[in-house]
């Protein structure tokens, strides 16, 4: 008796809709994302009880635990900070610069940075960790 071999079903996954969803997700991330330019900066923010959630930073200045100053991910000196931020303020009068400083730094390490941002004419947001 001859046994008929069953035909293997030809499975085809419809991948076009998956690609569509993937591209919609890409468009969402492209529009909503704000790239982390400062992920490599090692600092611990100070805590304070009266903090509010802020808009994502358009320009951020960070001072890490070694006192190194970073402006939008690039290492700069406190002296040149005002000259970097001033042109940005001229383009956008409402520019708010987020300043993040390591909590254990002493006055002579953080004050020149705060003063430089203040002198540039930008609005200052001092970032920290909320405390209860």
């Amino acid at each position: 008796m001859a046994i008929r071999r069953r035909k293997k079903p030809n499975l085809v996954l419809p991948l076009s809709s998956m690609g569509d969803i993937a591209f919609l997700l890409i468009i969402f991330f492209m529009l909503a994302s704000n790239f982390m330019k400062t992920g490599n900066v090692d600092l611990q923010r100070p805590g304070a009880p009266t903090l509010e959630q802020q808009e994502p930073a358009k320009c951020s200045v960070m001072v890490d635990r070694d006192g190194v100053v970073w402006c939008d991910g690039a290492q700069v000196s406190a002296a040149e900070l005002a000259s970097i931020i001033k042109p940005l303020v001229e383009r956008d009068r409402e520019l708010a610069v987020h300043v993040s400083v390591h909590k254990d730094l002493k006055r002579d390490e953080f004050m020149p940075v705060v003063e430089a941002v203040s002198e540039s004419g930008a609005k200052i947001v001092l970032t920290g960790e909320p405390e209860d």
């Binding site: 991948l15 997700l25 909503a32 509010e52 609005k123 920290g128």
Partner: protein
Amino acid sequence: MKSKKRASEGGISPDLTSFSDIANLLIIFFILTTSLVRPFGRRMDMPASAKPPETRQQDNTPTVRVTADRLMLSEGEGNEREVTMNELRADLWRRNFPSRKETERAVVVETAPEVTYERYYNVVTAIAAAGGVVALMTE
């Protein structure tokens, strides 16, 4: 005739596997590099320190002197008293800065060299939360 029709129906289906692979790689890239988290902080009214604080001329401008272990609040000469952080906050709230003119909202902050940023941060955010304007004192 029949065979012709069959040939036209055999549609072309492009291989979309690599296409979706690229799309997924892009998604992973965006997920890893993006930051959707909104930071916490305090927006400061901090006029440029290059300008001398005119309000310093007034005797009754509140001045907070911050050292490593003490907070001294004064208004005018010989009127200095030690306060805790909570007392400072309460004092600043009592002043009702938002109802005052901008020139009368200044609080001078004098910081000693040994003061850490965390201590300074607590003082200036307390002033900003109460509606005050931080006037930086430089030597």
